[in-house]
Every structure is written in C-alpha cells, then in structure tokens.
C-alpha cells in the first residue's frame, strides 16, 4: 500500500470512529424504550403516518407477526416496483423517453431493489425514467435499508429482553428508521454531494458537441439525492450504469471518501446501538472489532494488490509504480481520479458492506485483487455488512461461535445470558446453509449448462470467477457485478432474482425466529463461569469461526477461480 492509500484509510477510520458511536447511541434511543431526541419534530409526523396506515404504535408483535408484516411489505414493494417498470412509458417524469421494461428484467430489478441488493442488469440512465428512479428505486433504497435495520433491532431486542413474547412493531420500526435515521442523514449528505459537483436536475438530457464534431447526448437527473441514500443505505444501485465511476455520481476524491464513509457509517453505528441496548458496551465493541479486522484486511489486501500492479506486466519488466504523472498500479478499469488506493478502499468497502456500488471495474482487478471483493461477500457480508444486515449477520455468527466454543468453559452455550439450544441451532444452521446453497448450486448449474455458460465472456478460471461472483453478489444482496458476464438473459435474470430473494428472506425469517425464541427465554445471570463474549479473545474466535466455517465452504471454487488464475494456471 502506498502512503497515499494509508492516508485515505486513516481518514476513513478516523471519521467513522468519531461519527459511528454517537449515531449508534442515538439509534439506541430511537429504538429503545422511552423518549428519544427529536420526538418533538418527528413525533407528530410519525403519529400522522400511523393514523393513515392504521398502525397502533403501542401494539407490539410476536416474531411471526413481525415477519409476516415484513414479508407483506416486501411483496407489496416488489409488485409496485414491477408494475412501475412495466408501465413507466405511461407514467410522468420521463424526459429521456424511457420505454416499458420487459418482464424478466422488471422482476429482477424489482427484487433487486426490495432486497437491498441493487443488482442492475441495465444502465440506469437509458433504461429507467426519472419517475421510476425517484418514486420507485430511490424509495426502495430508503425502505429496504430500513427493513434491514428493523431486523437487526428485532434480534437485539430478542437478545436483550427477558422472558418477553414480542420483539417490537415492524411498522413502527420501519417508519422510525426511515424518518429519524435515513432521511435526515441522506438529506445532509446529498447537499454535501451537490456542493462537490454531483448533479441534481430534472432537465432533459444535454446535447453536447464534442471537439471531433460529434454530438453527444448527456443525460442528467436527480443524482445527488439518490447517491446519498445509495451509499448510506448500502444499496449501491447507481443512477448511471457506470455507478460511482461516473463523474456525475462521484466527481472527486472528496466525494469518493465521503461515499466510503457513508457505507460504513450505519453498520458500525449499529454495533454501538447493540452495546447500549445490551447494557454492556464491550459486547458491541467486540463485534465492531471483528467487522473492522475483516474490513481492514480486505481493504489492505485489495489496495496492495492493485497498487502493486499487474504481476504479469511486472514479470515482463514493466514499471507500474506511482510517480509524478503516473497514477501507478494496475490501472485497467480504474478512474485516474481515484487510482489504486481510492478504488481498492472503495471496492473492499462496497463488497464488505453489501452495498455493491463500484467506482472501478472489478473484472479488471488483478487476479488476487478480484478475489478480495468476492471473499468479502462470501464471508456473509459482515465487514461491516449491510445496514442492519451486517449486525444481524455477525450476531448469528456470534451465536455459532458461542455454540462451538462455548462448551469449552464447562457450561451449555449462552450468549448475553440466553441459552443457545436446539431450537436456535436449527435456525442458525438454516441461516448458514442458505447462502452457500444458493451460490454453489446456481453457479454449478450455470457452468454445467451450455446456455448459461455461453454468457461467460472470459473462459478458464476467470470465467468461473465471473459466474461465482454474480451469484455470490446476488445471494449476499451485495449487487456489485464483476462484469464479463452477460446477465440480462432470462436464465440469469430469473436465477439471480431467486438468489436475491432467498439470500434476503431465507435469512431474515430465521433471524426473526431466533429473535422470538431468544426473547422468550429467561436470562441467565452473568458470573465468573459465563463464557466471556466481551473480550478480544472472542473477537479472535468470531473471526476464526467466520473464516473457517463460512469461508472454507468456498475454498474449492476459489481454488479453481482466482487462486489458479493468480498462480498462473
């Protein structure tokens, strides 16, 4: 890593370290019992919304009702989004004259935004109308992130309540997450983005004449307002096809840094929320530390690999070092304004947070570099993961770690005083099974059948990586594309859509069930015989369990993909 990269990394760490704890404590008050800051402002608005949608905010739900509410909301969202795309030619706000979208792509996109994946089998500026973008996709960017927060908060309630039957009210949590957290921060971020040159316009595309005399049509749109929630909500779906590599989305180093910070902000903040609600801040630190370690390792590795340049060029004596007038490193598929450092940090963060935004072509990363975002996703999006999803993901792994190693202190396993028994283990096992099942099965089918195989643009190990990456991204609700794979086909639109659905809801349902099951349990008092889950040792154990239990599942496919490619096979 270059000194330049270290500076950026230090700046990111410093900003997140300063901003995340207070935000986390604020979240704890928003979702805890008792009054929260801003009640005077948000209270009347929320009460009005409750009245309109007919929700009794004081009525808490059991886990199954909570889950049904969440599913109902998500299904309705998919239906609305699907209809909007199919009908967008007949809807207002369509200065680019976008047409209605075909069923397979509409399904894929609807699922993609509702599951907080934002996989895009299309280029935003040419396919979506401003109406679809703003009223459909951007709204989902808010509420799908809010749904993630509700699940995390429900699980934290399950862990911290004592003999309770309910885990909160989904509608209340959804609305409060949107109004009190996502909207205010996104608003501020959008204004900052505009100040840095991110565009925000409803005007028709600009027709520009280039130096060579050609005419270029440059579409604009309300980009800044979407950009902020795209990052803050770990959504990642770009207004433009080029995503954060596009100068209108991410014009300079400052916005690049801000985008990275926005991705990390809420996932890290939620660990402090957890510590506060668990009345033991160390419990939150431990999770944050595990998240940070994996994120740091990924950011360090990716930036290092890319800064070092392409090893095959190096072996031919090509100087790829950084110097005045030369960005240095492996610059294929990268923006010169970001370079290896800005692209590496962004890529690792985007894949570690389930955002999936890209400011460089991951397909063009070096073989070793390309493996980093892939592995970051395979680990289950916990470094620090999606908004909410990161916290509930790492909490599930914490349950797993406690279950495996917890016996070693001579007690049946418990986490935060809750016994982890057969009922919870069934759900934990389901949780850790779903993602590998979806990724490996669909990838295997895709390389086994001639049709899907023909969509692979690069053959050999790199081609295998491309397919694996696509399903890993979809199943983990990341949404970033490696590239090199023509995925706008019925097979990929459908299978990736299914992968996103399973990867979202087949994890959320077990998580809520665990929350319900744990909430009912009596808390075992903590004493000297309790398995310590608030120590650095537990951070190490947790990282070990994640790497061995989750990462190793994918070792064979990694060996045949990026590892073989890197070693020069």
């Amino acid at each position: 890593m270059t000194a330049h990269a270290w500076e950026q990394l230090a700046a990111i760490v410093a900003i997140v370290a300063i901003a995340a704890p207070p935000l986390g404590f604020y979240l704890a008050r928003v979702f805890g019992d008792g009054p929260a800051p801003g009640d005077r402002i948000f209270g009347p608005v929320e009460r009005a919304i409750y009245r309109i949608v007919g929700v009794d905010p004081d009525h808490e739900q059991r886990w199954n009702v909570y889950a049904m509410s969440l599913l109902a909301f998500s299904v309705a969202s998919v239906v609305v989004l699907y209809a909007m795309q199919r009908l967008q030619g007949h809807l207002p706000l369509d200065p680019t004259g976008a047409h209605s979208i075909d069923p397979a792509l509409s399904f894929n996109t609807a699922v993609s935004f509702v599951t907080n994946t934002n996989w895009q089998n299309y280029a935003g500026e040419s396919t979506m109308s401003i109406f679809t973008s703003m009223v459909g996709l951007a709204v989902q960017n808010f509420v799908s992130a809010a749904v993630g927060i509700t699940v995390a908060i429900a699980l934290v309630r399950g862990l911290t309540r004592d003999g309770a039957r309910t885990i909160g009210n989904f509608w209340v949590d959804l609305i409060r997450a949107t109004t009190r957290v996502l909207l205010p921060i996104a608003l501020v971020a959008a204004i900052v983005f505009v100040s840095q040159g991110v565009i925000q316009t409803f005007a028709a595309p600009v027709h520009a004449h280039t130096i060579t005399g050609a005419t270029q049509v440059i579409p604009g749109g309300p980009v800044a307002s979407q950009e902020s929630i795209k990052m803050l909500g770990t959504n990642g779906g770009g207004y433009f096809g080029a995503n954060s590599a596009h100068p209108f989305e991410n014009p300079n180093g400052v916005t690049n840094l801000l985008q990275i910070v926005l991705m990390l902000l809420i996932p890290f903040a939620l660990t402090f929320t957890f510590g506060r609600l668990a009345k033991d801040r160390r419990q939150g630190f431990v999770l944050a530390a595990a998240m940070f370690l994996i994120w740091f390792a990924a950011a360090f590795a990716l930036t290092s690999f890319e800064s070092a340049g392409n090893p095959r060029l190096t072996s031919r004596g090509v100087d790829q070092s950084m110097s005045v007038g030369r960005v240095g490193g492996n610059m294929e598929g990268k923006e010169t304004r970001f370079g290896a450092a800005g692209s590496g940090l962004f890529g690792a963060t985007s894949t570690g947070t389930s955002t999936g935004a890209v400011n460089a072509s991951h397909d063009s990363f070096t073989a070793a570099g390309g493996a980093v975002p892939l592995v970051a996703m395979m680990l289950g999006e916990i470094s620090p993961g999606g908004v909410g999803a990161g916290l509930y993901g790492i909490l599930i792994f914490a349950l797993l770690a406690v279950f495996i190693a917890g016996l070693m202190v001579g007690r049946t396993p418990e986490y935060l005083g809750k016994k982890i028994q057969a009922a919870e283990m069934k759900l934990v096992v389901l949780y850790i099974l779903v993602t590998p099942l979806v990724i490996l099965a669909f990838t295997a089918l895709s390389v086994a059948f001639a049709g899907p195989r023909s969509a692979i643009l690069n053959h050999g190990p790199h081609g295998l990586t491309e397919v694996t990456y696509a399903f890993t991204s979809a199943a983990n609700n990341n949404g970033s594309a490696f590239g090199g794979l023509s995925t706008n086909t019925t097979w990929y639109n459908t299978t990736l859509g299914i992968a996103m659905l399973l990867g979202r809801f087949m994890l959320i349902i077990p998580v809520l069930a665990i929350a319900g099951s744990l909430a009912r349990k009596k808390r075992v008092p903590v004493n000297a015989g309790t398995f310590p889950t608030g120590t650095p040792l537990f951070t190490g154990l947790l990282v070990g369990v994640i790497v061995i239990m989750v990462g190793l599942t994918f070792f064979p496919v990694l060996a045949l993909g990026p590892i073989v490619e890197r070693l020069g096979g």
Partner: protein, 707 residues
Amino acid sequence: MVHPGPPPATLPATSEADPADRTDGDRHTDETRAKRSLLDPTIVRRALRDAIVKLDPRVMVRNPVMFVVEVGSVMTTVLFFAGLGSSSSAENVFAGLVTAWLWFTVLFANFAEAVAEGRGKAQADTLRAARTETVAHVIGAGGALVDTPSSELTVGDRVVCEAGTVIPGDGTVVEGIASVDESAITGESAPVIRESGGDRSAVTGGTRVLSDRIVVEITAEPGDTFIDRMISLVEGADRQKTPNEIALNILLAGLTLVFLLAVVTLQPFAVYSGAPQTVLVLVALLVCLIPTTIGALLSAIGIAGMDRLVQRNVLAMSGRAVEAAGDVSTLLLDKTGTITYGDRQATELHAAPGVDIADLAVAARLSSLADETPEGRSIVSLTAERYGATGENPAGAELVAFTAQTRMSGIDVDGRSIRKGAIDSVRAWVVANGGSVPDAIVEVANEVAAAGGTPLAVAEGTRVLGVVQLSDIVKEGMRERFDLLRSMGIRTVMITGDNPLTAKAIAAEAGVDDFLAEATPEDKMALIRREQSGGHLVAMTGDGTNDAPALALADVGVAMNTGTQAAKEAGNMIDLDSNPTKLIEVVEVGKQLLITRGALTTFSIANDVAKYFVIIPAMFMVVFPHLNELNFMHLASPRSAILSAVIFNALIIVALIPLALRGVQFRAAGAAAILRRNLLIYGLGGLVLPFIAIKAIDVVISHLGVK
C-alpha cells in the same frame, strides 16, 4: 468418641460411620471395588465385536455424520471392485487403500462408542448376578409365612428378612432394625443400618441382611426394582440424547450438508475447468471435511461422562441431569453433614455465677447419660476429657431419656433431680419447680447462640447450674472449595434449621455466599423457585421424605441412597455413598463433560483448514501444475496426499478416544481462563497438528510405495 452406656441394640460399631465422616467416599470405594481400567482387555474385545455390529445402517443413521461416511465407504467399495478389471494397478491400490481407511474411520467411531459403553456393560453384568432369584418369606393372611419366589412378589407384600438372607425386592422397613450389606450396589463393604420409620427405612432388593430381623413392605414390582433401573442406567440401554447433544448434532448435520454441497458442486466446476474428478477422490474429500472427529466421539463423550459419575458411585437418571450439573450456578448445601460434621459437639461449659465449673460438669454428665443423641454423647465425653468428671450410671438412678417432646434429658438419683436441655424447656421446668433463670444465664445463652453455637441449660431442682455450648465443626477445606466454586461462577447457599444468628456465624466461618436459616421444606422450595426465576440452575442433595418436592424441583437433585424411597424417586441422581459433599464433584463432572465436547468440536472444525490445503491442490495439480504452490508441505504425490489426509482423519479418532473417555483435564477456574487455555490447545492445536501429522503420514506411506 467414648461410648456411654450400653451400645444400642446389637448394632456393630461400624454402623455409626456417618456419611459425613467419609468425605472421600469415592476414594474409599476405589479400594473396595475392583475397578476396570478404561481399556481393559475384556472391554476392548467386546468393543471390537460391537464396532462391527454397529455398522448396521439402521443404527448408523442415528449419527448423521458417520452415516455419510458409511455411505461413502460403500460407494468407494463398489467402485473399487468395479474398477479392478479396468484401472491401472497403481489406481487400484490407491482406491483399495482409501476405501479401507474409510471403513476404518467408521469402525473407529463405532469402537469409540463401544468402548465407552464397555465399562457400564461389565458393571451391568455384575449387577445382574446380584439380581438372582431368591425365595421370599411373605407374611400371609393370618400371619403365617408363605414362601414365594422373589419374581412373583407384588407391591404391598410384607416379607420377613432374617440375618444371612438376601432382601428379595425394593421396599420399606416397617418393623425392626438390621444391619445390611449393600456392597452389591454401592461397592461399599461396611454394612449400613436400616430401620423402620425415619429417613433410613428404604432397602434395596439384592442386598443382604447381616444381623437381626426386619419386615419389609415391598414397594416395587419385580423387574422394576432399583437394581433393574441401575442395570439399564449403567448399560445405557435407553440412553437419550441430551438437549445440548441434540443441538450439537443439528450443527454437525448442518455442517455435513454444507460440505456435501461444496463437494457435489465441485464436480461441475472441475468439469468446467477440464479436470473432472473421480467419485473416490470426491468421497475422500467429503469425509475429510465433514466433522468426523466430533461426530465419531460425541456419543462416547456422553456415555463416558455418565460413567465417570458411576465410578464416583453416583447414578444419574439421565444424561440431561449431568449436563444440567455443568450449568448449575447455585448449590444448596445442607449445613449438617455437608459443611459441618454431622452433629454438633459440646465444646464449652459456662457455669452460672456462684457455681463451681466441676459441679456443672458432673451435673451435665449425669443428665446426659440417658441422652443417646450424638450431642448428648459429646457432652459426656467433653466433661470427662476436659473437666475430669467421671462416674458411670449411679445405682438406683432413674434415667430420663431425651425425647423430641420434652427436649430434655436427665436423671433422678438420691433425691437430686438434674435436667439438661434446650433453654426454654429447662426454664419451664425450673419455673415449674418454683425457681427462676438468672439473667447471667440468659446472657451467656445469647452469646453462645450469637457465636453460632447452641446453648443447652443444665439445672438441678430450682437452680440453673450453667450452660453447655454445642458448636458446629466446619469440615476442613470447605472454605477453599467454596472459593473455587465462586471462581467458577457458582454460588453456595447453606441450608440449616438453625436460627439466623447461628446460621450467619457458621456461614461466615465456612465461607458460603448465603444461607437459609430456620429452613422448612416450604422455605427450601421457595428458595429454589426464586433462584430459578432469576435464571439460576439449582443443585441440591436430600434424603428425607420432606426433601422430595425440593429434589424434584431442583435442576440437579441428588438423593442419598440411605434416604427414603420418596426422596430417591424425586431426585435425578442417586448417590450410593450418601455423601452430600459429592454434589461438588457432580458439578465438576458435568462441566468436564461439556468441556470435552466443546474441545473436540473445536478441534474437529479447526482440522479442516489443513485438510483443504492438502486435498484441493492434490486434486487439481495435474491440470493446474501451478497449484502445487499451495502444497507447501511438499507432499509426495496427489495420491499420497489424499491418502494421508484420509488416514489422519481416521487415526485422529483413535488417538482421541482416551481423551473422550477420560475427559479433558478440568481445573476449577474462571471461564475466561479456561477458555483461553482450551482455545489455545484445541483451537490452535487443531489448526496446526494436522499439518504436521499429515506430512508425517505422507512421508511414511510414500516410503511404503504409495505414489
């Protein structure tokens, strides 16, 4: 202890051996019972046979991990024989060796379980011998004795058992008192007393009456007696999986599924990459990745944990109880017999003003001659040893025995009337005689009580002569044990019938965390409920009928074998030695069981890293020679690498059998310290060891010609 007066009835002196005097009950039985070592040749022989019997898929399917290995072994066997004609000889040898070691893996797992069951089965055989058919003398209608085979007894029959005969079935003594040899069950050769009424009335079928004659009312149908239950328990005939075992099995099955998925999908990837794999190699990879080590040893660990309790003469009615013992966070310990020696002892005399201490000693001695309680006897010996009072039962004296109603004992001789007993009782007696109790005596009595002692007053006619101080003697080493328990996160609560002042003093001296004074059975129940509602798991011991509800309520209820039938049925463990201190060991065995299970699970999972690094490069080295860079152990060839991993996977099971059976070393310490230590040994060790071991195996087999 000096025996005053004639010994009661004809009981042998050893009958006085109080359970509390045998704090090392288990060591005691070590000497008296022929112990079998874990790997006794007869056990191993039987286990080898059982290992093959257990290959029955209907049995194997209960262990999903090993069932997968068995299915894989069958597949490779079929493929081996199918390939004999066509494949190269090197390939055939490789296939044969891998297949053989896969079968060994299954057999080793079965062997581990069979060995764990072995000691219990041998013990069950011994117990069966004690269950021989005897002839019972049933009291028939009209009082005549009817000879009935013991197998035809019914509940409610009254049988007469005389010296030298075997008690034909479980029952309660309804008449008489006898010394009974219970060594068939407890391994303890010293006889015990069984008498009608009270808490020592239960007798067990198969034990032998040594002296006297008792009438026993049968309380269990033949076939459902204590020995029958004991046989099925030590044999593990109807062993159920414990809750944690079930949860762990779910995880292991889940991991097996994940790895099955990884291996099944590997073939399409391999085909895509132009390096299709043989089923043999895929099966080998699968078996190496799924958690076979813990899968193979899991049930052995559970059985061995129960067995370790049996070795300590504790019968757990279920594995669930053993597991709960590890989780216990509150121990309810009866003061008497557990924390203090069974009985209070006279330790001091306090004379009333104007009374000579020697006179008091004589009076105390005389009034206690008729008191057969241990307290009474201790007064007799104290007065003799410390105060030089002598003299036996004076001629013509009328002894007034101690009764629970009067709470006094005494003597009427030569016109003197001396009484000794509880302060209140003596006060009433003195007042009735027209006297009064001086304030000084009341003061002394209060001081004694405040210091944890029991004051008894001694009076003659209208005068109170002084106070005898009875004190509890706290057993040695209890404070250290309680400190250790505290460091393990276990709170100790002392249960006593004493008043709060006394209880507090003893609690402070013994170092327990809390106490329950003037405890009634209802108080005990309330305490258990309170602890449980706070999330604590409670363990307790008990022997009396009125302990039964509390024993049933507690998470771990250890009933004393000397106790009543009701208590034994309510508890989920029975201590054959009737040593309440053993509760602490029960907790340790529970913890050790859980630690062993966790350690081997961690070890098993950590092993996977090395196996991946061995097998994956070996599988694809032919097509991608560069992958050999991952083969940093420089294993000889792809075949030797795969075979080495399979052999390691099988041998590690055998290597860990002793650990699984004995349990990992357990030292009482805080959870953080235990975790650090075990993570280092079994986590880090589990990561590193297979690299070294597989390399070593590879060196050996490549020298033997596997290429």
